[in-house]
Structures are given as C-alpha cells and as structure tokens.
Amino acid sequence: MPKLNMVQAINLGLAQEMARDDSVIVMGEDVGVDGGVFRVTDQLIEKFGAERVLDTPLAESAILGSAIGMALAGLRPVAEMQFSGFSYLMLAQWEGHASRYRARTLGQFTVPLVVRMPFGGGVRALEHHSESREAYYAHTPGSKVLIPSGPRNARALIVAAIRDPDPVVFMEPKHSYRAFREEVPEAEEVGKIGKAQLVQEGNDLTVISWGAMMRPTRKAVAAVTEQRGAGIEVIDLLTIAPMDAGAVVASVTKTGRCVVVQEAPRSFSVASEIIALLNDEALLYLEAPVKRLTGYDVVTPYFGREKSYIPTVGRIVRGIEETLDF
C-alpha cells in the first residue's frame, strides 16, 4: 500500500471517481493547469482533459451556482473554493439553493455536488486563509459537512461525498495536508457519511475532535495516558452534520467526562452543539462540565500571533487533566 499524504490521498480519490464516472467534473480557480494551489487536483487535467477539469474565472458564487446547474442537469461537480475564507461569497447559493433544492421540489430535483475547501490555520498564511467556520455550514439545514483528519479517511470520505445524493461541504484541514502520511489502499474505500470514528476506547473520559485538531489531541491523549494511566476514549467526528449523535452520547454515557477540541471560535460553534447534545441525552451521566478547548471569540489574528490562538498539545493535556480531576 502506498504511503500518501492528505493531498495525494484526496487526489487519488478524485482521480478514481473521475475514472469511474464521467459525470464527475472538477472545477474551481487554478484547479486545472496549475493543479490547485495546494496541488490537490494535480494532474487531473492531464488525465481527464480540460472539459472535466475546469479552470474557472475568479468568482465563488458562480463556481457554486454553476455547479448547482450542472448537478441539476445530471453531472456530479466537485467544486473547489480556493480557501474557505472566500466561501462566504457563495453562502447565498449554498443556503438558498444547494441545501434546499431537494426539499423545495420534494426530491424531484437534487444537487449531488461537493464543495471542497481548505480551512484552518497554522500554516503562516495571510488574512482570510486561516479561519474555521464549519459551524456556518453545519447550521444550514440540508447541508452535509465532512472534515477528514488523515489521508486514509480523507480519501474514503471524498469518494463518499462524490457518490452521495446530497450537496456536501468537504472541509480540508490544510494544516494536515502534508503533515503526515498513511497507507491508503489503491482499492476502493467508501467512507460512511454520518458516522464518527472511535479512534481509541477508554472508560474515564471522552475526547471529541476533528480535522487538524486530531493530531495534537492524539498526542495529548497519549501523554495523559502515559502519565496517569487514564483510559481515554477518542472520537474523530469526521461528519460534522448530520452529526453522529449516537456515537457521542454512547461514549460520554460510558465515561461521564468529555473534552471537545476545536480550532474554531468558541461561541455558537460545533463544540457548543456537542455540549447541547450531551445535555439532551447524557446530562445525568456527566461527572464534570464538558470542557471546550477552542479558538477564542476574537477576530482570527494574523499569523504572527495565531499559534497561541490554536489549541496546543499542552493546553489539551491540561484540559483533559482538569476534567479528569474535576
């Protein structure tokens, strides 16, 4: 099995789906000749031609809006927003059309499409290139929101997203793009949308995270486990919406303690929703407040300061310990 980084893994998934189904079209700014500014779509134009790998003009609303038209007419577009920070330009098309077409027509017209977008910080990038706003999309009914955390699940989930009958926001944690490699089988693997992954079992505390935060989370969990011998359960959410409530609730019902690690600002966020869910279904099992280790409710600082604003291994370790000791 080849060892791939996340960029290569998503590229593999895209290439395989394009080979399998000629209704799959890749489109966006610089996705063709340039292969994408992160090279996620590298070589696709050579393999599948400029009719299936569209270098579009610079207009995010048009990229999604025309992708919606393609999907209505039977194609399966995979559109890229060059950075999630520019995706708000297409939110009206997302909220108003992509997420609604099925409901509006009681299933007669559907828009199976994927919007891929790199998101998150930690790569010393310019303004607007470091935010995490998955909550916008997750709060929009009719949207599916996926966030892979590693090469293998990224490949499996991009395939699932492309085959899914619904519009999917596929948010790629750019900090993880080249951070590590995993074995990714050539053979087809199709992720399950709506399912979280139980990364590690434990009885004392549940840590829930997703995307780029999975790495510091795992390191922190390893450290705490080593230091204290605590049994920590780790959940990788993978699907943000519709969330795998069952997995979250089952775990915390068992452990009674929970820490959520997220890069996005704290308030009105995915972490908030996880807590609300636990309140609904597991309150009586909670032995400590659920801890939110998150970004702060400040305007994302330029990269000179960003590091301190993203949860670190040390902060996660302390958060877990405090929750264990509560």
């Binding site: 079209i25 025309s66 038209g69 007419a73 059309h97 009681l106 409530a245």
Partner: protein, 364 residues
C-alpha cells in the same frame, strides 16, 4: 488629445409588431398560423390565471404573489420558441412561459398557497422546468451550469434564463454572463425589463442607457427588443437558441416591457408611480396588439375570441376547483427531504415533531 479607439460596439433593437399591432413587413417572420394562435392562446391563459390569482389572493385563498400581467409576451413566446430538450430557468414573473412548458395549471395556486407541491413537474414531462426562483439573479448561474452540462453531453439544447431589470445589478448576474461567455455555454439570458424593481425605477437601477449594452462587458451578442411584441420576442429567442445550438454560445436579450400591476400583492405602486404612467403602458400591452394583428391577418375574429375566453375561463375555474380539493399535505414531509439519506438525528426530530403535533391537536 488625439487618442486611439481600440474597440467599437453597437446595440441593436428589434420590434416587429408595434404598439398598434402594425407589423413591419420587412421583419415579418412569417410564423405559421397555428404557431401564432398557440402563442396567443397561452398569453390569454396566462393573463386569466394571473387575474384569478389576484382575486384569490384578495380573498385570502392564496398568499402573496407577484402578478405578471402585461409581461405575457416574452415568457410565452420564449417558451414557444424553445425545444423540448431546452431548460426553462425562471425567476418569478414568467407564469405564461411556465404554463407553456407543461406546468400543471394548479401549480401556481399551490405554490403561492405555501406548498412545495406547487413545484412538482408531471412525472410524464421532460422536467426541464426549474421551480420559481426568488433570490434575485441567482438562477442565472444555474442556467450556466445547465448549459455547460448540455454542451458536455453534446446535447443540442440550451438553457433559457429569465431575470428582471433589477436583477442585472446583482453580482450573480455579472458572474453568470461572464462564465457563460467564457464557456461559450448554450444559454439565452432574457432580462424582462419591466421598468421597475419594486419601487426602484429602471433609470435609478443602473446608469446605462440600455440593459442590452451590459452584454458588451462579456463580448456577448446582445439585443434590446420590444418585450411586448410577441413576434420580436419569438424571433429574438429563436435566433439566440439557434446560435446556442450551433455552438455560438450565449446571448443576452433585454425585453422591454412593463409591470402593469403591483410588484406583489403586498405592494402599493401608488406610493412610487403615477397611474398616468400605468395607463400609458396599458396602451402597449402585448395581448391587445397581438389580437389586432391576428384579426387584421384574418386568422382571428370576435367569435373565436369569445369562444376562447369562455374556454379559458372554464379551464381556470376547473384548476381552482382542483386546487382547492387538494388536501393531503403531509405535515412531516420536510423531514423526508432534508437529505436523500436517512439520519438518526433527523428521524428523532421527526418523532418529536409528530408527538408535538398530536399534542397541539389535543390543545385545540
């Protein structure tokens, strides 16, 4: 200072049938009689439906809606000029065209009475008719994507997108025309310039003399037409479709017309325009002049008109009866169509919803 001119552009105009119903013989497209009568019939049906809806709205039998009276020519003629494989991508003031494209006569009532069922196209139809679109200009982009898909699949077909004059101010309009031109997508963009965007007159919406000239920004063949002249509408759309089918890419048509009624039934045009202006435009409305022409051409007479009116009244009556007999609107249907797949959290909320609903029934 002497400066080079590096590009020149012109904006053409087309009117075939003038406001008095006189045809310009040089421009006569010589449409077959049955096609002329077909166009006329749909325009009359659209007008009758529109006026009935107005009445129903005033009686509280449907909700807010935006009348299209006075604008029948362009959407009906366009729809008549279209082929079966073409896609109709409307805004919200193309009632006539929608009916031509096979929308059930009951659908407008259902839609404006707050039921998604009003968006359903007959299973038997080609279903290339998108639902009404309310986010101004957003549909222009869908037409571009559809056009791209048609081109990609090498279908000899096009997408026809409608929008208002106000819509040309939105970013989505601009992005759509640019994408369509770059892709040379088979799309016909038709701006129904009805002089008003709610209370905003056309002259304040944009400073350009014509809307048609906006196509120059995209090197797109563009034309201004008399949008109350069904013949000019038909000819211009047919030409644009032909260009699209032949790989010539998109066209932009500005159809000059007038919104004779209120913006929607929630609007009071008396606040921002004079009835003198309305009266003037009533003189140019499309049904009368087409009837004059058909009569002059001796393919139509008063008896036929009377028979048609009777027939159409019956059709409209019948549709309203059918609409009002409809009742089985399942309350939890929104839960079925959030996603195309089932999810536990949605199903749990559905149960909660149904329990609540039962209890509400108990409350009452």
């Amino acid at each position: 200072m002497p400066r080079k001119q590096i590009a020149q552009f012109e904006v053409p105009y087309l009117q075939i049938l003038d406001a008095q119903g006189q045809i310009d013989p040089q421009l006569d497209p010589q449409l077959p009689t049955d096609e002329l009568l077909r166009i006329y019939r749909w325009m009359v049906l659209a007008r009758a439906t529109d006026q009935r809806m107005l009445k129903l709205q005033r009686q509280g039998r449907i909700g807010t809606f935006g009348p299209s009276t006075g604008q029948e020519a362009i959407s009906v003629a366009a729809a008549c000029a279209m082929g079966d494989d073409d896609w109709f991508v409307g805004a919200f003031r193309e009632l006539g065209g929608r009916l031509v494209r096979g929308e059930p006569l009951t659908s407008p009532y259902l839609f404006y009475n707050g039921y998604e069922e009003g968006n359903l196209q007959p299973e038997s139809s080609r279903q290339r008719l998108l639902p009404i679109n309310i986010i101004v200009a957003s549909q222009c982009l869908h037409a571009v994507g559809i056009g791209y898909a048609l081109k990609y699949r090498q279908e000899r077909a096009a997408a026809v997108a409608f929008m208002g004059d106000g819509a040309t101010s939105e970013g989505d309009f601009h992005e759509a025309l640019n994408f369509a031109a770059v892709w040379q997508a088979p799309v016909v963009f038709i701006s129904q310039n009805n002089q008003w965007a709610i209370s905003m007159p056309r002259e304040q919406q944009t400073r350009s003399q014509t809307l048609a000239q906006k196509g120059i920004a995209y090197e797109m063949p563009s034309i201004q037409i008399d949008g109350n002249d069904a013949l000019a509408c038909y000819v211009a759309v047919r030409e644009a479709l032909q260009r699209a089918y032949d790989g010539g890419g998109p066209t932009f048509i500005e159809a000059v017309t007038y919104r004779l009624m209120m913006h929607t039934t929630a609007d009071d045009p008396g606040r921002y325009r004079t009835s003198a202006e309305e009266d003037e435009w009533w003189q140019q409305e499309p049904l009368g002049r087409l009837r004059t022409y058909l009569t002059a051409k001796k393919i139509w007479d008063d008896d036929q008109e009377e028979a048609l009116q009777t027939e159409i009244k019956a059709e409209v009556d019948q549709a309203v009866v059918e609409f009002e007999a409809m009742g089985n609107f399942l309350p939890d249907i929104p839960f079925d169509h959030v996603y195309g797949t089932r999810h536990a959290s949605i199903e749990q909320q559905r149960r909660e919803f149904l329990t609540n609903l039962e209890q509400e029934a108990g409350d009452a």
